[in-house]
């Protein structure tokens, strides 16, 4: 059963999700007006995945991110001003404006970087896991990646090494149903992407990525396992992006209209909806 948060925890979770949503809405505005350059991938609709996942981390843990990584950065504790400055290519940004949206990194908070190369974060996560293991620290690296990266060679190599060496890595696959315009249902002949993990001897699980508490719970279990030295886990979080694949005038794909919990009057969808008290209210 998914544990209900305290009021303070619940509000903090919502604050993070709101920060991600509003950060990206501001980015969309600035980008649309020609004030931001390069390309831009928004994760609006997917906020519950990084928010829930990063709740399972402690100081010193790392993440690797993707081309759609603003939410990962913010959930890992990035400074919003320095992040915005980076996207605006300013000198006071995290990478002095040279990384931009797709290559923002903040090693100090354990954010090993967004990555314009689909699947590029996976070998980096395996490397961070190996480093943690060799240094004898109990830190864990959370590897965010999209469903589109699952066909990449780097994905297979990283899972192979992580499994073989029992590396403290938790692979979090954000399955937003599409890689560009390719539906993941067509791309993979398995019911769930998480089923593939078994082929590497890695425990795999699929969770509702729009349920922030379900994500937290699954990732927490995997992180605890990795800290105990028992090796990697794979979590597939089912979600949906509400904007186009990239912000260059593409139309968003038709969606089911599920909100991760920021639209009222349905915020309980994001938090505690399966808990006993909620069931008591909604028998």
């Amino acid at each position: 059963m998914v544990e209900t948060p305290t009021a303070a925890e619940g509000l903090a979770i919502l604050r993070t999700m709101w920060r991600i949503r509003l950060f990206e809405e501001a980015v969309e505005d600035l980008y649309g007006r020609g004030m931001m350059h390069g390309t831009m991938h928004l994760s609006i609709g997917e906020e519950a995945v990084p928010t829930g996942a990063c709740l399972a981390l402690k100081d010193g843990d790392q993440i690797t991110s993707t081309h759609r990584g603003h939410g990962h950065c913010i959930a890992k504790g990035a400074d919003l001003g320095r992040s915005m400055a980076e996207l605006l290519a300013k000198d006071n940004g995290y990478c002095r404006g040279r990384g931009g949206s797709m290559h923002i990194a903040d090693v100090a908070t354990g954010n090993l970087g967004a990555n314009g190369i689909v699947g590029g974060g996976l070998p980096i996560a395996a490397g961070a896991g190996l480093s943690n293991k060799l240094r004898g620290v109990d830190n864990v690296c959370l590897c965010f990646h999209g469903d589109g990266s699952v066909g990449e060679g780097a994905w297979h190599e990283a899972l192979t090494l992580a499994s073989m060496w029992d590396l403290p890595v938790v692979f979090v696959c954000e399955n937003n149903q599409y890689g560009m315009s390719m539906p993941s249902k067509k791309a993979f002949k398995v019911e769930n992407i998480s089923d593939k993990a078994a082929g590497f001897g890695i425990p795999g699980e699929t969770v509702d990525g729009n349920d922030v508490l379900a994500v937290r719970e699954a990732v927490q279990r995997a992180v605890d396992r990795a800290r105990r030295g028992e090796g990697p886990s794979f979590i597939e979080a089912l979600t949906y992006r509400w904007r186009g694949a990239l912000e260059v005038g593409q139309e968003p794909l038709p969606h089911q209209g599920r909100d991760p919990g920021l639209a009222r009057p349905r915020p309980h969808r994001a938090m505690g909806r399966r808990d006993a008290r909620h069931r008591a209210c909604h028998p």
Partner: protein, 62 residues
């Protein structure tokens, strides 16, 4: 959270407003930042050239 009376509408409004204020401040910080200098933009991008080819091409060294 509303349904199980964990929080009130007012608390949610306050949380959303606080997040909005955080983002407003981030936009101010970001837009007020300086553009990096050309030197800063180029630093660390290329390995040093054994013959200083770039500097020669740009007339920086003879």
């Amino acid at each position: 959270m509303l349904d199980i009376e964990l929080v009130t509408h007012e608390q949610l409004d306050a949380e959303q407003a606080a997040a909005r204020q955080d983002i407003r401040e981030a936009v101010v910080f970001g837009t007020k930042g300086e553009d990096p200098t050309v030197e800063a933009m180029m630093a660390g991008i290329y390995a040093p050239s054994p013959v200083d080819a770039f500097d020669i091409a740009k007339g920086i060294v003879a």
